[in-house]
Symmetry: C2
Amino acid sequence: MAQTPLDYTAAGVDYSKIDPLKILAQKAASATAGNLAGHGVSEILASRGESAYVMDIGGTLIASITECLGTKALVADAVRPITGKTHYDSIAQDTIAMAVNDLITVGATPLSIHAYWSAGGSEWFADEQRMRDLVLGWQKACDVCKVSWGGGETPALAGVVEAGRIDLAASSVGIIPSRERLTLGDKMQDGDAIVLLASSGIHANGVSLARKLVERLPEGYASKLSDGRLYGEALLDPTTLYVPVTEALFAAGIVPHYSANITGHGWRKIMRHPGNFTYRIHTLPDVPPVLAFMQEHAGIDDREAYGSLNMGAGFAFYVAAEQAEEVARIANGLGVKAWVAGRVEAGPKQVVIEPLNLTYAADELHLRA
Amino acid sequence: MAQTPLDYTAAGVDYSKIDPLKILAQKAASATAGNLAGHGVSEILASRGESAYVMDIGGTLIASITECLGTKALVADAVRPITGKTHYDSIAQDTIAMAVNDLITVGATPLSIHAYWSAGGSEWFADEQRMRDLVLGWQKACDVCKVSWGGGETPALAGVVEAGRIDLAASSVGIIPSRERLTLGDKMQDGDAIVLLASSGIHANGVSLARKLVERLPEGYASKLSDGRLYGEALLDPTTLYVPVTEALFAAGIVPHYSANITGHGWRKIMRHPGNFTYRIHTLPDVPPVLAFMQEHAGIDDREAYGSLNMGAGFAFYVAAEQAEEVARIANGLGVKAWVAGRVEAGPKQVVIEPLNLTYAADELHLRA
């Protein structure tokens, strides 16, 4: 490619500016934990820095989280004139997935969801088709995850949110029915297997790059992928909800030793666990055509692609080696393709992707966020 | 005044466009409640439509909520050049207040808070003073409410959130330690007293009107109030956190029959309870100078002012008449001024403000949101 490769900084996301705030906020947040003692409640300390926060409330373990969609709704807005569909049913599922796919990593069963739909003006809500798609898509995703939609907030914030746009987020509360199911990393060990679950496409991370790329494509979102689908439409395939898989594992008596939702930072997230382990990958999942297309047209190498996009792996389980095939079988049985893709080894913290001859060192994942 | 009075529609908030979505969403949300049965969990049905959602999780009553700040951060941004302060410590408290002041209305003790700070770009987080104020203000408000700051989300969403702006929200999880403390309206009865708690100023509702008004003021946010303070600075007085008051009531063995957080819709919120009661107010709280100034300069009458702003009453308790003085005494002892201001009567649903000769009929509060 003659053009400069597109990477995340070029696409407008500069983590170096965000990270200092995150660290300051994390310290301040930790300092408030003592407030719980007066209520007879305690935090599960190891959940700080994990994907969901866990409190022990009189013996009941409650997990909670708030997550945002990001900028994927901008893709839906741009693609609607091409497909004639609002795609907000998919966007609803994406938003819920951002919350529940994180919540389940600590071993929780999600119970409730609150919606946060913050629009650039009240006229956003006057588009009946879009509004109906958003509401019914939200309801459907709640049904798939067996959660109750408990309420929400639908402000119109002209001057804060861009006109015609919407800032979507979800918060979720879940329960960890027994302490044995708490998955905070203490169970992981040398020899565990890594089972990767298929993503449905871009999910909701890497969207800034996906949008930036459109500027380079003569046909924009209407560009054809290798499978004949449109780039924009494929980008809007909704994020896989992994809740049915974790629930089925628990029902089968399988407790993962650790779990990671592969989101920002791509496969570098595979080393999310706080310990020092080497994650050796021997089998690659199929790369969804939309991600292969992005890598090609953005002109980025495998290191950049796997370091920022999910490249076909939306979620990782770290399980006892002898349970790995069973975990994959259960996921496959639920229509979520799964691969026993690697193993955890004692050793320096790094992700080694053998088929690509690629290694991400520990310092390439600064934040456990 | 020669100019047209400013009201909410003129200030850009058109509830008639938002309300149909809210109703559609409420129906869809209710339909998902059955999902809980498979988890051995049930919702407290009466909490739907109340300010926080309550689930019975194996006998533990957990309340949850997500609430947004609204547009008040725009005021902080505009006032900063005048005062030289970022005011984001106050803004942090406002955001937390939006969540916890709602959560406590159902009888909950807030336990945890998640932050949702969604900026228009990563450069928002590079302003160190503002970032420090936001973080430390957030921490301080958590300490006042005795909650643990469990985590949060700090996305940079260029294209969704306006450049240089931030969309702030908070979600909270709380516990209702005993079923007797659940405050969902079934306890309220003819003869109950209404105790109003002082607001600190505008809180975070009516801000669109406050901002619109600036266009009419020759000195804008630097306009002087009757007490000599600047309009902009007074607008940024942080919302009172009422958690210490509810906690003190519970500690004294007092369970309100109902509670209402006076936010959007102003004093019409006094009839938030689903039943048919007449709320007769005989005593008015002091009107904060900033709200008196707004009423005067916006050229709105008492009906409009009390129907959209808190006018000095930030929170309402409905309590057994014989406990009313004790409730007010406890609040006053915590530095929150309180008035035994009226009574609940059997009768048509309406708010009667006798000193102003004003009545809001039931159909003037369409939504219980």
